[in-house]
């Protein structure tokens, strides 16, 4: 997995053409709500269990 592949996949998933311009102040004011964190943890656990078809 290369850096380009990760960035390409992320842009594709978010249907963005380029990296959004966010700065330090944006990041600092952003708080991750509990339900978003819970969704993230659930996906993480599932991805460790799930097996997808490789190449």
């Amino acid at each position: 997995v290369t850096e380009e592949q990760i960035l390409g996949s992320l842009l594709q998933q978010l249907q963005l053409r380029e990296v959004p311009a966010l700065d330090q102040s944006d990041a600092e004011q952003l708080v991750t709500p509990a339900h978003v964190r819970a969704q993230y943890v659930a996906l993480l656990q599932r991805s460790h269990g799930a097996r997808s078809r490789g190449k």
């Binding site: 998933q13 966010l22 993230y40 996906l43 190449k55």
Partner: protein
């Protein structure tokens, strides 16, 4: 019929009179554990057509001496319903007799996906007209295959050949030994590879989680089959060490909408290697069994 607007169109049934036989093949302990199925060949013995029948056929329908033989995998579901999948089909001539080979690798793949080793492999063998239509000959009625007899081992009963590779020789090993360096001779394995997202400029202020992740990669080489086997399976390329199972990577990223910033979860497919295997270019990718 009976419509004021449409002229009646009568149809005529074409008698399909395909003869269909069901082959029941026990598969218990046929496939060695820890092996990879490369090819499965069904061999059927086509019996010679008696001279008199041949002469009568030539007189009655000289157009064609061919018949179509079709092999289907029969899946009997738990609810008792049946489903068939086309596996192989070829033309045979009534002037030939002897062993005819059909590639039934996919049927054995389907059977393996059922994960019910004690259940037999069910193959439906149909002999049909060469093609549909009023001009098609009836040569198919003269095609006979020797069938499974009540006793085992009859010389001409159907044969199923299973060609496998022993994965203890031709397969991968699990995870690489972190203590041992990877060299030319290292057998295909999964090696830890950590991706530091915080070190990527574009991820700054945008990717909130994770800071990094273990992606793994497949390294090492695979043992190649001996010359004789590559000659037997010309459709197979060299065996390579590949990521045979991967999994997705969830992330939390910042999304700006209407001037407001919010956190969102996104999942990137095929980002982490779960399993490395040795596989040959050209080997068919098994169709997944639909529920």
């Amino acid at each position: 019929r009976f419509s004021q607007n449409f002229r009646e169109v009568a149809g005529r049934f074409l008698v399909s009179d395909a003869s269909t036989r069901l082959l029941v093949l026990s598969m218990e302990r046929r496939l060695p554990p820890n092996s990879e199925l490369v090819q499965a060949v069904l061999r059927l013995f086509q019996e010679p057509v008696p001279e008199a029948a041949l002469r009568r056929h030539e007189r009655l329908s000289p157009r064609s001496d061919l018949a179509r033989v079709t092999i289907e995998w029969l899946h009997v579901r738990a609810d008792g319903s049946n489903r068939t999948s086309l596996i192989d089909s070829r033309l045979v001539s009534i002037h030939e007799s002897g062993w005819k080979a059909f590639d039934v690798t996919e049927a054995v793949n389907f059977w393996q996906q059922l994960s019910r080793p004690q259940e037999p492999l069910l193959l439906q063998v149909s002999v049909q007209r060469e093609h549909l239509g009023p001009l098609a000959s009836s040569a198919h009625r003269l095609v006979r295959f020797a069938s499974q007899g009540p006793w085992d081992g009859a010389q001409d009963e159907p044969q199923l050949e299973l060609h496998t590779l022993d994965l203890r020789d031709f397969g991968a090993q699990g995870n690489c030994d972190p203590e041992a360096p990877v060299t030319e001779g290292t057998r295909c394995c999964r090696q830890e590879m950590y991706i530091d997202l915080q070190g990527m400029k574009w991820a700054e202020h945008w990717v909130l989680e994770p800071p990094g992740f273990l992606a793994y990669e497949c390294v090492g080489t695979c043992q190649q089959p001996p010359q004789a086997l590559t000659f037997k399976w010309p459709f197979l390329g060299p065996r390579q060490c590949i990521a045979s199972e991967t999994t997705s990577l969830p992330m939390i990223v910042g999304i700006k909408e209407g001037g407001r910033l919010r956190a969102q979860v996104v999942s990137l497919p095929n980002m982490r290697v779960q399993k490395c295997s040795c596989a040959s270019d050209g080997s068919p990718v098994p169709r997944r069994l639909e529920p």
